[in-house]
């Protein structure tokens, strides 16, 4: 289990609050379709693991629980990768290494760890967390694509995804590069902290 997943609690605001599961959002989610595919992959894997492991762990020998749970996460990522390739080969090819990396996304690892611990939060809390992660990853990807490329690529099935033209001349082309991903995420995290401060909650 990775260090970050071991030390971080499973928080209700994973992406902007606890900064968990950043890697696909920062680098690969430069279009709405990529954000949807990667966000959905991580959210679904985290949800399936978080819901199934509490019941499955009694079937696993205690010493092999972690490796078996990780193999399950990898199996889910491989399946999701094959499904994404069948749904839209072009989008899946463009995502490259990020589809298999869903297996080691920090959100998925945190969910895996949560599933192996006794007496954890409700399934509803888990579902709300992963849904929030999905929403924020789609928001970041959409924002980067609109401001950086002036369009929105829809995750439509088939060989060529559909695009909607939003801006004739995009104001910040840098945003579709990984550098832009860091900046957008930094600004959104600051906005999130501002909202939390107004509500009287402080983040580290």
């Amino acid at each position: 289990m990775s260090m970050e997943a071991r030390r971080e609690p499973f928080t209700p605001d994973p992406l902007l609050g606890a900064l968990i599961g950043l890697c696909p959002v920062v680098a690969a989610s430069d279009s709405l379709a990529d954000g949807v595919i990667l966000g959905l992959g991580a959210a679904l894997s985290a949800l399936v693991l978080g819901l199934s492991l509490p019941s499955l762990k009694s079937l696993m020998p205690a010493r092999l629980r972690s490796p078996m749970a990780f193999a399950l996460a990898a199996g889910l990522a491989a399946l999701y990768g094959l499904a994404a390739e069948a749904y839209s080969p072009l989008l899946a090819k463009g995502l490259g290494i990020y589809l298999p990396l869903v297996a080691v996304n920090c959100l998925v690892l945190a969910s895996l760890r949560r599933g192996l611990r006794p007496g954890e939060d409700s399934a509803l809390g888990l579902a709300a967390t992963v849904f929030l992660y999905f929403l924020v990853s789609v928001l970041v990807a959409g924002l980067r694509e609109v401001l950086g490329a002036g369009r929105l690529t829809l995750p439509t099935p088939g060989l060529s995804p559909r695009s909607l033209l939003i801006l004739e001349s995009p104001p910040l082309r840098l945003l579709v590069a990984p550098a832009g991903g860091f900046m957008v995420l930094g600004c959104l995290a600051a906005a999130y902290r501002l909202v939390q401060r107004v509500r009287g909650r402080r983040l580290p």
Binding site: E4, C23, A27, P100, V104, L174, A189, R193, L194, L203
Partner: protein
């Protein structure tokens, strides 16, 4: 590409942290091991993982057209073997080796190690080149971490708006650093060192 070109591309032009966003979650936390232990542990794990995944992918999966199952083989074969090795190193008597072993044990299952192994095995390199690329990627990650740490120290002394203090300002600074790293691009490196 020449070996020097592979080192420069992996460490700078394709920096795993700033260009691929790998290992970005731990990079924004302060509770890391000492830099020497971290770099040695990461180097050990990354190099072995990249070599093992290259062998599995290029010699076993690709001839069978099963390349997309590399994630499964990594989880079932490579990660447990590396964890076992890291725990064996952690049980040695030397305090440094013990620290390296436990840091390596923590690092095995994470997007940094798996991501670098995937990049090295999918780049069309030969085995020695893939191993060199993974070691250089690890060096590039460490260099970016050291730079970010220096930036973070300066930011802590700066008068920033309250909501930008901490991780948000470091994320925005990482974006600026990534822009600087974009200046060292693949074509430039190829033209300089072949």
């Amino acid at each position: 590409m020449s070996y020097l070109g592979i080192v420069l591309v992996s460490a700078f032009a394709s920096n795993v942290l700033l260009a691929y966003g790998l290992g970005v979650c731990p990079a924004f936390r302060r509770d890391r091991e000492s830099p020497l232990v971290s770099i040695l542990a990461l180097g050990l794990v990354n190099t072995l993982a990249a070599a093992a995944l290259w062998i599995l992918r290029v010699l076993v999966l690709e001839p069978l057209r099963l390349g997309s199952l590399d994630v499964l083989l990594f989880a079932v074969l490579v990660a447990p073997a590396l964890k076992y090795l890291a725990r064996a190193v952690a049980s040695l008597e030397s305090p440094l080796l013990r620290k390296i072993g436990s840091a390596a044990d923590e690092a095995v299952v994470g997007c940094l190690v798996f991501g670098i192994a995937l990049l090295s095995s999918r780049s069309g390199y030969l085995l020695p080149e893939a191993v060199l690329a993974s070691a250089s990627s690890c060096l590039g990650y460490w260099a970016a971490l050291v730079l970010l740490e220096a930036v973070r120290e300066r930011l802590e002394l700066s008068d920033l708006p309250a909501s930008f203090r901490g991780a948000p300002s470091v994320l925005a600074s990482a974006g600026l650093m990534a822009m600087a790293f974009m200046g060292i691009d693949l074509t430039l490196v190829k033209n300089l060192v072949g």
